[in-house]
Symmetry: C2
Subunit: 248 residues, 2 copies
């Protein structure tokens, strides 16, 4: 794996000409395993968009699907509205992850995707990507894998875990994903408010708050607003019943 960036934003800004080839995320993102020649072909169809301001939407439910988005920096949230107009958070997306995959089947976006903070994305025109995938077996394979990976993540959310298991699992999942990206797996910032965490875990905000306090009293974690420090990974693992979301 390439040497990790020191902070997320540096990934996007320190290079003059940003390409997949020199992107620190290439080992987590679509181009996994491509050689330089193929990466350059992929590069040509990638549209590196302007950074988005916080709370800007990337796409909305019902819009015609044409592009997948890869997170370059920041954290994104995808969500739907249910019949009563209540928000349902489906996923949080960290750098290197692909968004919009659930829109492929119906051809229409199935979720709203919004930047939780300033964030950058690469837009991947689906038809072009699909065509290229047919020419580069390794790329096709990687897209299959990314789709398959999301299945496991969704399956976790579907399990009937207790509130404690959910919160512990959520923290450990983030921890793993940050580690994969070269950041600390013990200290990190929650990009999303408690309300979004609770909604994602299908719990009440108050329940999440209470459990975080409980974990803190039990010496498992320390928190200071959005900043979290995991003190006892083994203990958290026990609370999560050892069933993490996706173990990379």
């Amino acid at each position: 794996m390439a040497s990790p960036p020191t902070c997320l934003s540096s990934v996007a800004h320190r290079t003059i000409r940003r390409t997949c080839v020199n992107c620190a995320l290439s080992e987590l993102c679509v181009p996994v395993g491509l050689d330089q020649k193929d990466m350059e072909r992929l590069d040509q169809l990638v549209d590196r968009q302007q950074p988005l301001p916080a709370h800007a939407h990337l796409c909305r439910i019902g819009e015609r699907f044409s592009t997948l988005y890869a997170v370059r920096s920041g954290c994104f949230k995808s969500y739907r509205m249910d019949r009563e107009g209540r928000e349902r958070v489906l996923a949080f997306h960290l750098p290197g992850e692909l968004m919009g995959l659930d829109a492929i089947y119906p051809g229409v976006y199935q979720s709203n995707i919004v930047a939780l903070d300033v964030g950058g994305v690469c837009a991947l025109p689906y038809n072009d990507l699909s065509r290229l995938a047919a020419q580069i077996p390794r790329l096709q394979e990687q897209i299959f894998r990314l789709l398959s990976k999301d299945l496991s993540a969704y399956a976790w959310l579907g399990g009937d875990h207790s509130a404690e298991e959910r919160v512990a699992g959520f923290l450990l999942d983030l921890s793993n994903r940050y580690r994969e990206r070269g950041y600390s797996d013990r200290v990190f910032n929650l990009a999303m408010p408690r309300r979004d965490i609770a909604n994602y875990l299908r719990l009440a905000t108050e329940t999440v708050s209470r459990i975080i306090t409980r974990f803190e009293r039990q010496g498992l974690i320390r928190t200071e607003r959005r900043e979290v420090q995991l003190l006892d990974l083994e203990g958290l693992n026990e609370r999560a019943n050892h069933c993490l979301q996706v173990t990379g």
Copy 2:
């Protein structure tokens, strides 16, 4: 769509030489949209296995992944065991549906798949399928779509629906899937015991039983053991809060 078969088992047995080309499920399964020539190429890699007896396992968690399975007849169930050894049903699979997709990413089966009754499957060697998909864009596209479709199905299970919403949604989802396959969407048999339904919906068996009784008293359905008749689709839709699982 081809004229529907009159009963599920006839699909598998009435032809001498069974191929994708003459399979009644080809419009629901992997070969959607392929012309006859491409379908014949697909056909060559399909291994039409012996019918499986009830409760026979197709694969087990942890086994090395090498083949996807398509349901030809019967109904299958995929499930995991959690830490405490309790079963977690992940999905039921009807004819034409693809199983094992979540194993692509890790390369190891993520769930046990078992026949609920006698049932037949087509085995699709993943590497061969993947190679062929690179040569037939329409096939690659269809695999992307099937993977994407499963994402939406899993997302429904993840929502925090009430017990009533879950049961109503489950019945309507089955209804839709049976209709797609050319069977009655009002009268059908539940291939799975209540326990499996409850487990799939993350409810207690007793809760499912109570809600079925309630729906029956309200004149929404009639049941006779495993046989179900949907009397009031609109009423069920209201109980499900109008959010069906996947609307084909």
